[in-house]
């Protein structure tokens, strides 16, 4: 009799526990049963990035092909050497600014002496400089006023014709780099050079143009 009662209680407890567990399971399952919806473009959206490309080369004009790689030798005080460079903007992005500088791998008074050392001017012509004569048959502007090579050891802004900073086409800036060695007032005595002379020295120069991209924009739409 007692055994029958106990068995009946166990059965009741078991039924109750099963009911509770089932209920909890049902509630839990109902959480994952909620609906969701997704929308997306079926054709991929193209996102492309523009390019900024700048190259320099010696002018291709006859007689003006010295460029930056041909050595300049035996300059004397008062001498001027003009080198003609084509700076090509071949990227798709517009450039916002251009700078120019020189580095000297073999430091001499040519780049350490701001007064008696080399002086550099940069001119730009709207058309290619004339072959052989180096004259500008278009409009010539000063992209960089005369200054010492010493000052040019740090970047200096180059004022180019605006169109030559525009991307999307191969815009070419026709530049004339004017290198002067000032006449100075050096006197040599009995075959001896003065201290700090600009005579009989040799520098190794790297000329660098750097342009920055146009100002970044935020576009709506």
């Amino acid at each position: 009799m007692l055994a029958t009662k106990l068995s009946s209680k166990v059965v009741k407890v078991a039924i109750f526990a099963t009911a509770v567990t089932g209920g909890v399971t049902l509630i839990s399952s109902s959480v994952f049963a909620s609906l969701s919806a997704t929308a997306f473009n079926t054709a991929g959206q193209s996102v492309s990035v523009g390019t900024l490309k700048l190259t320099q080369a010696a002018s291709g004009q006859t007689g003006l092909t010295g460029g930056f790689t041909t050595a300049i030798s035996a300059m004397a005080p008062g001498d001027q050497v003009n080198r003609f460079i084509d700076l090509t903007q071949a990227g798709t992005l517009n450039a916002a600014s251009m700078t120019f500088k020189v580095a000297d791998a073999n430091t001499t008074t040519l780049t350490t002496d701001a007064t008696n050392g080399l002086q550099v001017t940069v001119k730009e012509c709207t058309v290619a400089y004339t072959a052989t004569t180096g004259a500008c048959s278009g409009t010539e502007t000063t992209a960089l006023a005369k200054g010492s090579a010493n000052a040019l050891l740090t970047d200096k802004a180059l004022t180019l014709i605006a169109a030559d900073l525009t991307g999307g086409a191969s815009n070419v800036a026709h530049l004339k780099i004017v290198v002067d060695l000032p006449a100075g007032s050096e006197v040599t005595t009995n075959g001896t050079l003065p201290v700090g002379t600009v005579q009989g020295v040799s520098s190794s120069l790297t000329w660098t143009f750097t342009e920055a991209q146009r100002t970044a924009t935020t576009t709506q739409g």
Partner: protein
């Protein structure tokens, strides 16, 4: 106090985390560089001349001293170019321990045959100390003589070159 310290530590950690992100953004703007890949050599010439006692002399890098001894005869010397540039002239001066000095010159490239004759049979030209016009190429020389008015003196000849006596400046386009 503890809360303040915790906040400061959090702020510092946040700055450390955020700063590099800001820096990355700032340096993300594009730039393009163009330059000569091989360096360009630029060298300069020199204008040098010195007084020497023989045409074959190398650069003495000093003044020329002449001691005629017990004589007032003409003493010969040369103003020789040692630079890499050609010269249009030079400036010379002479000092003596006593008396005065007189100078003559023969044409460039000749020598004195005697005090009154050049090797090209021309007659030496009298010159005074100071600027002398002379087209001197590298290693070429101007023959000169100096005659002291007194014996047993020491003569010192000095030569200088200034930039106007260097070759004419040029403009080159290549």
């Amino acid at each position: 106090m503890t809360k303040t310290r915790t906040a400061l530590v959090g702020l510092a950690l946040g700055a450390l985390f955020i700063a590099p992100q800001v820096s990355d953004l700032a340096s993300a703007a594009a730039s393009a560089i163009a330059g000569n890949s091989q360096t360009q050599s630029i060298s300069t010439a020199s204008y040098l001349a010195a007084p020497v006692s023989s045409t074959a002399a190398s650069n003495p890098k000093q003044a020329l001293q002449i001691q005629p001894g017990n004589s007032t005869a003409a003493q010969y010397f040369y103003v020789k170019s040692f630079g890499t540039d050609s010269l249009t002239g030079f400036t010379f001066s002479g000092t003596t321990t006593s008396g005065t000095l007189t100078y003559k010159k023969c044409p460039i490239g000749t020598t004195f045959s005697s005090s009154t004759r050049c090797s090209d049979s021309s007659t030496p030209t009298t010159v005074t100390a100071g600027a002398v016009t002379a087209a001197l190429g590298t290693s070429s020389y101007q023959p000169m003589s100096v005659t002291p008015s007194r014996t047993n003196v020491t003569i010192t000849i000095t030569v200088t070159i200034n930039n106007t006596q260097d070759r004419a400046a040029v403009t080159s386009i290549s």
